[in-house]
Amino acid sequence: MKLSLKASQRLWTFAFLVVPLSLYFVVVIGPLLATAWLSLTNYTFSAFASPEFAGLVNYQRLTGDDYFHTSLYNTLIWMVAALVLPTGGGLILALLLHGRVRGANVFKSLFYLPITISMIVIAQTWQWMYQPDWGLLNTLLKTIGVEKWKVFWLSTRGLALGAIIFAWSWQQVGLSMVIFLAGLTSLPGEMLEAAQIDGANYRQSLRRIVIPLLLPSSVVVIALAVINSLRSFDLVWVLNEGGSGSSTLAVQMYRETFKSLRAGYGSAVSMVLFAIAAVIIVIYFRRVRRLEHLYD
C-alpha cells in the first residue's frame, strides 16, 4: 500500500519524535508524576518501606511550617531580585558596550566569563570574598579604616540572603548582557538615524525606540533569570546551607528529603516550586506568542 505524501510525512515525523518523546517521558514527565505521587504519601527514606497514601497532609503541614514560609518568601524575593539585578545590570552593560567602544570585546568577555564557571566554583570564590577575617570585602572595609564594621555577611539575618543573591547576580549579569547585545545588534539602524534627524536625544531614543524594540530580548532575559532564580540551590548550599534565614524552596526540598529523610514532605515542597515555575513558564510562552503575532 502506498501512503500519501501527507501520511508519509506524518509517519516520519512520528518516527523521529518517538525517541526524544520517550526520553522526555522517562527523565521529565515520569519523575514529575512520581514526585507528585510521593507528595501525597508519608514516605520517609528511613522507613525503607513502600510509600503510603496520606492525602493532602503534607500540603496542610506546609501552611503551618515557619521554615517553609521563610523559604517561600526568600524564593519570591530572589525572583524579584532576578528582575532587577541581572536584568537591569545586563541591560546597562549591553548599552555601555554596544557600538564602537574601545576594548569592548575584552569587557564583554570579562563580564561573560562568570557564566562559564561552575556554580560551585562561584560559591567557593564568594565564600572567600565574604570570609569575615580575611575576605576581600571586610579587608576593603579595613583598608579604608572602618574595621569596626566587621560584617558577617553570611551569618547575619537579613543580610545573608542579600549577600547570596548578589553573588548569584554577579554570575547571571553576563548572560543578560549577551542577550541584550544580540538584541541591540539586530535593531534597525535607519530607525535610530531617523530619530536623530528628527532631533531626538540619546535618552529619548533609548526610551522611545531602543527599549521597546528590546522587548523580545527582555522577555528571554527575564524568563531565564526568574527560572534560574527558582533553581537557587547550589550557591546557597555551599555558602551557608540556607542558615541565618537564607533558605530557599530548593534548599528546603533538599534538606527535607535528603537530610531529614522526609521524602513525602520534600516532594510537597518541590511541587510548590514546580507550580511557581509552571505559572512563570506559561506566562512566558503566552508573552512570546503575543510577540510573535505582533512581529508577524
Binding site: T44, F45, S46, A47, F48, Q131, P132, D133, K150, F152, W153, L154, S155, T156, R157, N240, E241, G243, S244, Y254, R255, F258, K259, S260, L261, R262, A263
Partner: protein, 423 residues
C-alpha cells in the same frame, strides 16, 4: 564450515576470551566511597589504597564526596539500592540505621578468620562493630574531642591551663580582658556546635541520661537539658565565643586558635592533622586539655566521659565478600597502614599492634585520655538517628544565632525529635 562461519569464529574467540578475562579482572575490584577530603587526610588514604592494591592485586575504585554531602548521599544510596562495595562510616547510630535498612552484610566470618579479636581492643570492638548481635564495621581510627589551644598564646598571656570548671572560667575571663576571644567556634555547617552540647550534657547529667536522650527515652525539655543549655547560654552571654560563630567553619576556628586570635576551640583530634599539614608542631604549636567537670561540687557522681567519633568501613549487602572483606581486613589489620593513617590524621589506632611511640605527643595524650575516660561516647550526630540528628544540629546553629529563649528552642527540638524517632 563456510568462510563466513570461520571468520565469525575467529572474531568471536578473541572477543569471548577478552570478555572472560575482563570479567575475572572486574571481580578483582572494589568500589569504595568515603568522606575523607583534602583537610581530612585524603592524600594518605590514597597511599593506603595503593598499598592495598600492591599487596592484594585487587584494584580500588574510589569516588570521594564532601564530608557533609556524604551523609545525605549514602542514605539516598541506601534508599535507591545504589551503593559502593565498601564505604566509610561512623560507628554508632549511623551504622545501626543502615544495618536496620538491610543495606549491609555482616563481616563476622572475615573478623574471625583474620583474628581481629586479638587486634582490636574488646571495648572498641563491642562499642563500634556490633549491631543487632553481629559484626558489620571495622574501625579505622578513633578521635577524641577536647579543648585545643596554642601553648605559646597561653604562655604569653601568662595563663595556666585549667583542670577545673572554675579555672576554665577564670582563664576565659582573663583572655577576654586581654582582648583575645576565649572560644573559637566555626558552626557555619552546624556540626561543630555539637561538642558543646555533648560535653555540657555529659558533664552535668551524665552518660546514662545522655544515652536515654539519644535513644528517645528522655525529652529535650527535661531539666537536665535545660540546665546544660543554660550553662552554654551563660558562656554566650559572657561574650566568650567569637562574634559570628555561624560565619566560620571549623578550619577558620582552628586558624583563629593557631594565630592567637582565640584561646581555645572545642574540636576533635582531626584538627591535629589539619595543623600538621600547615607545619605546626604538636606539643609546641598546639596541644589540648580535657573538658573539665562542670560544677563538680553539685554533681560529684557524674562519670567523666570522653566524646568523639570512630571512623571505619562497612561492606554493603551486594558486595563480593572476598575482595571487599580483604580490603576491610587490610585497613584495620595492616600495621603499616594503621600507623601511616593514624599518625598523619592525629587520631588513635584501634589496632593494638601499632607502636605507641609512633604517635606524636598530642595524639599519645589523646590516647591516654580515651583510655582513662569512664565512658567513651559518640558525638551527638553519630549517637542519635540521622533524622533526629538534624533537629539537634539545627538547634545548635540557631542557638549560636539567638540564645535568648531556651524553652522555645528546646520545645521546637523536642517536637522535631519526636517526629524523627517515629521515622
Amino acid at each position: 564450515m563456510t568462510r563466513l562461519h570461520r571468520a565469525l569464529v575467529l572474531l568471536l574467540v578473541p572477543l569471548l576470551t577478552f570478555g572472560a578475562v575482563a570479567s575475572v579482572v572486574a571481580q578483582e575490584e572494589v568500589n569504595i566511597s568515603h568522606y575523607f577530603g583534602g583537610e581530612l587526610n585524603l592524600e594518605n588514604l590514597n597511599t593506603v589504597m595503593a598499598n592495598f592494591t600492591d599487596a592484594s592485586g585487587i584494584s580500588v575504585v574510589d569516588s570521594p564526596i564532601g564530608h557533609e554531602d556524604f551523609k545525605a548521599g549514602i542514605l539516598a544510596g541506601v534508599a535507591s539500592g545504589v551503593l559502593p562495595d565498601v564505604f566509610s562510616y561512623w560507628a554508632g547510630a549511623r551504622v545501626q540505621f543502615v544495618v536496620d535498612a538491610g543495606a549491609l552484610q555482616p563481616i563476622g566470618a572475615m573478623w574471625d578468620a583474620a583474628g581481629l579479636d586479638d587486634v582490636v581492643p574488646a571495648g572498641v570492638a563491642d562499642a563500634a562493630t556490633l549491631y543487632n548481635g553481629e559484626r558489620y564495621f571495622v574501625p579505622f581510627n578513633i578521635h577524641y574531642a577536647a579543648f585545643f589551644y596554642n601553648p605559646k598564646v597561653w604562655a604569653e598571656a601568662g595563663i595556666e591551663v585549667p583542670d577545673s570548671w572554675e579555672g576554665l572560667m577564670d582563664a576565659f575571663a582573663e583572655f577576654e580582658m586581654q582582648g583575645i576571644d576565649p572560644i573559637a567556634l566555626g558552626s557555619k555547617f552546624r556540626w561543630p556546635g555539637q561538642f558543646w552540647f555533648d560535653y555540657l550534657l555529659l558533664r552535668t547529667a551524665g552518660p546514662d541520661y545522655r544515652a536515654a536522650l539519644m535513644a528517645g527515652d528522655a525529652s529535650y525539655e527535661d531539666p537536665e537539658v535545660v540546665h546544660a543549655m543554660t550553662v552554654w547560654q551563660s558562656l554566650i552571654d559572657a561574650g566568650y565565643f567569637v562574634d559570628g560563630a555561624n560565619a566560620y567553619d571549623w578550619v577558620d576556628a582552628a586558624d583563629q586558635v593557631a594565630n592567637g586570635q582565640a584561646a581555645v576551640t572545642l574540636m576533635g583530634t582531626w584538627i591535629g592533622g589539619h595543623w600538621k599539614g600547615d607545619g605546626l608542631v604538636p606539643g609546641e604549636d598546639y596541644d589540648f586539655f580535657e573538658f573539665p567537670p562542670v560544677h563538680p561540687h553539685l554533681h560529684i557522681d557524674v562519670p567523666q566521659a570522653g566524646v568523639g567519633p570512630i571512623d571505619g568501613w562497612v561492606m554493603t549487602a551486594n558486595a563480593d565478600p572476598a575482595s571487599a572483606g580483604a580490603l576491610m581486613e587490610f585497613l584495620v589489620n595492616d600495621v603499616d597502614t594503621q600507623t601511616l593513617w593514624n599518625t598523619s590524621f592525629g587520631s588513635i589506632s584501634p589496632n593494638v599492634n601499632v607502636d605507641p611511640m609512633a604517635y606524636d605527643v598530642v595524639a599519645a595524650k589523646a590516647g591516654a585520655s580515651i583510655a582513662n575516660a569512664a565512658v567513651y561516647a559518640f558525638n551527638y550526630d553519630l549517637a542519635t538517628t540521622p533524622p533526629v540528628a538534624e533537629c539537634g544540629l539545627d538547634m545548635f546553629s540557631a542557638f549560636m544565632d539567638d540564645s535568648s529563649d531556651i524553652a522555645a528552642t528546646l520545645a521546637t527540638t523536642q517536637a522535631c525529635a519526636e517526629e524523627g524517632f517515629m521515622q
